[in-house]
Structures are given as C-alpha cells and as structure tokens.
C-alpha cells in the first residue's frame, strides 16, 4: 500500500487526523507562509513562557511551558526549512485551492453569528444563518431553502433545547414562555 495514501486523490484534503492533507514532496500555496507564521508565533510564546519564571528551578511553573514552546519553535523552524526547499505545486493557487471565496464568506458568517447571538437570540440568528448558508451552497429557490432551513432548525431546537436542555440566548424570542405554554398544555391534557 502507498504509505502516502491520503484517502482522497483529487484534493488532498486531509479529512482526518490520521491522514493529514498536504503533499509529501511539494509545497502548496501559502504553506511556507504558514510555517513561518508558526515559527514566529512559537518564538513569541517562548519569550512569554520565559517570562513566567525564567530559569528559576526545574520545577518552576514556567519550566514545562518553556520546554514545550521551545520544542514548538524548533519543530516549526525545521518544517519551515524543509518546506522552503520543496518545489511549488504548479496546479494550485491560494485563491482557488486553499482559501476559496466560499470559505472566506463562511468564516465571515460565523463571526457575524457570534456577534448577533446575544442581542438577537439563538433562533433568529440561526434561522438567518441557515437560510443564507443553504441558499449560497445549494442554489435552490427561496421557498425550498427557507423551508429546509426552518425544518432543520426546528429539529435542532427541539433536540437541544427541549431534550438536552441546553440554554441558548433567547434574545428577542420569548422561548421560555413558549415552552411553558406547551408544558401547561401537556399537563393540562394529562390531568
């Protein structure tokens, strides 16, 4: 069997932790930049770890952080050095294969989701997110998109709010009152 088999021939996506993406003998667009970023970040962390307790004692609170960040820095530098020597992949571009517009748009969606979650409440935010996301990905017409999104949201809400009793920000929707209403209805029916 091919030791470099990635489970996915066309995109080398790295769909799992056992089969990370990337190419063994080539450098993907942006790979060197990422390695350099990791090196820089590790260096900053190492500096910060040194500030915890310096070289006080082997058992000082900063010892293990210093050791781990030092390992990070060394590993990141080795990776950067190895990556820099690899030939570039000729068939890929950063725009198309690493950071396509859809991915950027979705990261944007998620940031907005986080911002809107508290003030607007879970249900409206999630509904808007699902409608926008499904519409964007599927290209379906509005009625089908909205129906699918609302149905999926209803299922999720029932499972998590009612069965798992996860508390989500209610925002503008009087969730608790609605649940209470149905509870009262149920117990009223039972009695």
């Amino acid at each position: 069997m091919d030791p470099e088999f990635r489970g996915d021939q066309d995109h080398h996506d790295g769909t799992s932790d056992a089969t990370p993406g990337g190419y063994p003998a080539e450098r993907r667009p942006g790979e060197l930049g990422f390695a350099l970023f990791l090196s820089l970040a590790s260096a900053i962390l190492l500096y910060n770890a040194h500030a915890i307790s310096g070289f006080d004692a082997l058992s000082a609170p900063g010892s293990v952080p210093m050791a781990t960040t030092a390992v990070m820095l060394i590993a990141a530098l080795v990776v950067a050095w190895r990556t820099a020597r690899l030939p570039k992949v000729t068939t890929e571009t950063l725009r198309r294969d690493i950071l396509p517009v859809t991915v950027l748009v979705f990261v944007g969606f998620l940031v907005i989701f986080g911002l809107a979650l508290k003030p607007l409440g879970f249900l409206p935010t999630a509904a808007l997110f699902l409608i926008a996301a499904i519409r964007l990905l599927s290209g379906w017409g509005w009625p089908r998109t909205i129906l699918t999104a609302l149905f999926a949201l209803a299922v999720i809400w029932i499972v998590f709010r009612v069965i798992f009793t996860v508390l989500l920000p209610s925002g503008v929707v009087p969730e608790a009152e609605v649940i209470q209403f149905f509870r009262a209805l149920m117990s009223g029916g039972a009695a």
Partner: protein, 502 residues
C-alpha cells in the same frame, strides 16, 4: 458479585440501554456521512451532555464511538468515500466489490466482522485492564510523564505525514493546555496579561473548532460531489464465509487491540496496519487486493472495531487516552468530576465495568442496525451537503457556547477552526493537539513531582530512569521514535512499504 452488577447496569436500566442504542444508531450514520467524524460528534456531544448524570452521558458516547467506527465502512464500500478515517483501508477493496454488484455481501461481511473485532476488543479490555491498573499503581510520576510524551509522539509518528509536524502539533497542544493560572503556584502562564485568558482556554472550544469547524470548512470545497445509488440485495453473510475468514480476523483483531491500546493511536492506524498484515499473510487471494478481495475488507474492519476496546485500556487504567475519541472522553469524565487513572479503577470499579457493559451492548446494537435498515440508510447518506455543512457549523457554535454560556468560547472555537483548517491543508495532524491539551496537566504535574522528589537534580532524575526497567523501556521508546526520523530509518520504511505493496 458487585462487578457483575456493575457490568449489568446497562441492561437493568432501560433508559441507559436506550441511550446506547440511540448512540450506536446515530454513530453509524455519523460515521457514514462523509464529513461527519466520530471525534467531531463526541466533542460536540460533551458540551450537550455535561449537565447530565455521568452514566447516561457515557452511554451515549460509547454508542456513538462504536457505531461511528463501523459506520464509515458503508460509504467506503458504496461511494468510495471513507465516511470516517478508520474506513480508509476498507474503501480499497470494498468499492471494487460494490462495482461488481457485490455491495450487499461486502456490507454483510463488514458488519459481522466489525462485530467480531469489537467483541475481541471488549474481551481484552475486560480481562487486561484490571491487571494493567494494578501494575499502573507502581508507576512513578516520571513514568506518567514519559507515557504522556510517548502518547503524543506515537500519534504524530504512526499517522502518515511528517513526524516533525506531529511533534509541533503535540507541543502546541501542551502549550494550549498550560494557558491560564498554574494550578500549583497560581502564577499566570502564557496569558499575555489578558483577563480573558486567565481561566485558560476551554478545551471543548479547541476540540470543536479543530474537529468540527475546520472539517466543515474543508467540506465546503466538496459541496458538489454527488452520491451514487447502489442496489443492495442479500446482506446477511453465510456461516461458511464467516468461518473461512475467522483465522485472519483473529490475527487482525489482535493487531487492532494492541494498536488501540498504545497511547495515542486508534482505529484508523490499526485498520491500515491490519490491511498491510492481511496482504502479507494471504498468499493466494481469490481476487487480488485492491480489486475487491474479501480479506481486504475483513482485516481493517475487525481491527478498527477491536481498537475501540483497546483504546479504553490506557484511558481507564492510566488516564492516558488511547486515541482522539478517548481523549475527549477523558475530558468528559473530568467535567463530570471523575479522574481517570489507576485510582479510578480502585475507587470506582463500577464505572469501569459499566463502560465494558455499555461497549458490549453497543457492539450488539451495531450488528443489529448494521444488518437492517439499508433503505433508510441510503436516503440519509444522500442528504445534500449544502444542508449538512451549515448544520455542522450551527451545532459547533451551539456546542461551544453551551458549556460556559460564553461568547468568547465561540470565538476561541472559530479561531481554532480556521487554524485547524490551515493545519489540515498543509499536512499537520490534529490528533496530537487534542492529546496535548488533555495530557498537558498530567505531564506538567508529574514532571514537577518527579523532579522535586529528586531534589531538582537532573542527574538523579536520569539515574532513576536508567535503573527502573519500566522507566527505561518508556524512555527507550521515546528515543526510538526520534531515531525513526533519521534518514536511515526512512529508507528502511520505504523498502518495507514497497515490499508490502507488491
């Protein structure tokens, strides 16, 4: 007697039994849908079940784990897309079988063999863990430290890709785990003087980000891939077929249990190794490997399910996870106030026997659900990705938020999601990060305990390692993994793999 009662807990309480069943059922589908992984499901689930009692929460997770490891094989056979990493090897021979119109038989054999492998894994867990835990009581702090390092290194080195990247990932995990106030001296560590970071980074946010969000972002590139319909007829395999592959399945189950029990390595690696083994020992397969050989299905499927039981051995006895999913389960036990490790087996043996019982039931449910309900199955798997991906993202957000009711956890999750996305693209394994986060505390505490007991003397510390057989073995293993990075070893490995592929 008490042991027996604990073992039977899951049978005597219908609600627990139901949760195991639901978990297994859900696990099969989660495993089968490409893009949904067991690791992702379990990490999202922790945040939803943390307000539950510990038994129901564990029941659900055990079911999902067992079902998910098996479920990946379905899509591997039908669509040539491994639904879960542990099914990568299954696709190599399963899909050619489906192309010949033998999908039903392939699924049937896979199911029975997964059950068989799972059973062996559970048996070994039940028999071996009590002994390992007695042995584990003799472990010194330095042994724990070495074992933690070994676990992180193993997951980085046995998975394909570069070990250096694995080491980086493991160290990153340890560093993430160290953020916040030091539990012993209350000193702030790696907080950049931000109040936000004083309490540390929620490991659930890290996990959901790395396994949920980054996966979903990657899948955005595969939205258009459509599923292929397959007609499936008879699936329950004949007894003769099963008997024929029994010897092989015993061997590959053993491989599975051992790989599963090694700290840090799980079903995905076990399956690939078992596949290699089957290729080596099967002299005259009826159909060549890679073209639809039955042996190529039996080997990975027994091994990956056997690895489930194996992975629980170090988790329950040492508090060191056997793979990424058990790492998350350790996190779940922590949240429920339990402390996995040798003392758990002494103080609360019930917990251990309960898990064994739940695993056993999950295995049986897997067999039942696996051999039935094929029709619904194809429907669910054909659910368009344009709907699945937004749902994963939504669940990730809900999950990250739910644990502490904090928006900042959502942003941590997002940050780690984007970071994990790049890691996946550039070939950095994510497993070691999670292992690092979970083991950070254990490694730190034990290092300090070990070095304080040696009066801060490194010489005495190493003397201790060299004179104790156990520490020495662990130390040698750590060194060996580093040596495996030298060019000499790489040459040897390529030769080995070339031989196996012939």
């Amino acid at each position: 007697m008490e042991t027996l009662l604990a073992l039977l807990t899951v049978f005597t309480q219908p609600d627990l039994l139901l949760l195991v069943a639901i978990g297994t059922f859900a696990g099969i589908y989660i495993g089968a849908i490409p893009g949904l992984s067991v690791t992702m499901a379990v990490s999202i689930l922790i945040s939803f079940t943390f307000s539950w009692e510990v038994y129901p929460a564990i029941s659900l997770m055990v079911g999902i784990y067992m079902g998910g490891v098996y479920g990946g094989s379905r899509t591997a056979i039908l669509l040539n897309i491994p639904g879960a990493p542990s099914a990568i090897a299954t696709a190599m021979d399963g899909y050619p079988m489906a192309q010949r119109g033998e999908a039903g038989q392939a699924i049937g054999v896979t199911t029975v063999m997964s059950f068989f492998g799972g059973l062996i894994g559970i048996l070994v867990l039940a028999l071996a863990a009590p002994y390992v835990s007695v042995f584990a009581l003799k472990f010194q702090p330095r042994d724990y430290m070495l074992l933690a390092v070994l676990g992180i290194l193993l997951v980085g080195s046995l998975s394909s890709g570069s070990l250096v990247k694995g080491i980086f990932a493991g160290a990153l995990g340890l560093a993430i785990g160290a953020v916040g106030r030091d539990p012993l001296t209350f000193t702030e560590r790696l907080t950049f003087d931000l109040q936000l970071m004083e309490g540390g980074i929620s490991f659930i946010a890290v996990m959901i980000g790395m396994f949920g969000v980054s996966e979903a972002l990657l899948q955005l590139q595969n939205v258009d891939k459509t599923a292929v319909r397959q007609k499936i007829t008879k699936i329950v395999p004949s007894f003769g077929v099963i008997r024929k592959y029994l010897p092989l399945s015993l061997q590959t189950s053993t491989i599975g249990v051992i790989i599963g029990a090694l700290p840090g390595t799980g079903g995905d690696i076990a399956a690939l190794m078992a596949y290699d083994h089957a290729k080596r020992v099967t002299k005259n397969p009826k159909v060549p490997f890679g073209k639809g050989a039955m042996e190529g299905l039996v080997a990975p499927e027994t091994a990956n399910n056997a690895a489930v039981g194996g992975a629980f051995i170090p988790m329950m006895t040492l508090g060191i996870p056997g793979d990424a999913v058990t790492a998350i389960m350790i996190g779940a036990l922590f949240i429920h106030g339990l402390n996995p490790g040798p003392m758990l087996m002494v103080d609360q043996p019930d917990m251990f026997w309960f898990i064994v019982g739940a695993l056993f039931m999950a295995n049986i449910f897997m067999l039942i659900f696996g051999l039935t309900g094929i029709r619904i199955f194809t429907k669910i798997v054909e659910m368009p990705r344009a709907v699945i991906i937004p749902l994963i993202l939504l669940l990730s957000i809900v999950g990250a938020y739910a644990v502490n009711n904090s928006i900042s956890d959502v942003y941590w999750m997002l940050g780690f999601g984007v970071f994990g996305y790049f890691m996946r693209h550039y070939g950095y394994p994510l497993g070691p990060v999670i292992l690092g986060v979970i083991l950070s505390r254990l490694l730190d505490d034990n290092w300090r305990r070990a070095i304080i007991s040696e009066r801060e003397d490194l010489g005495r510390f190493f003397e201790g390692i060299l004179t104790s057989p156990l520490s020495f073995t662990l130390f040698a293993a750590v060194i060996l993994i580093f040596v495996s990075q030298t060019p000499l070893w790489t040459a040897l490995k390529t030769r080995l793999f070339r031989k196996a592929s012939q």
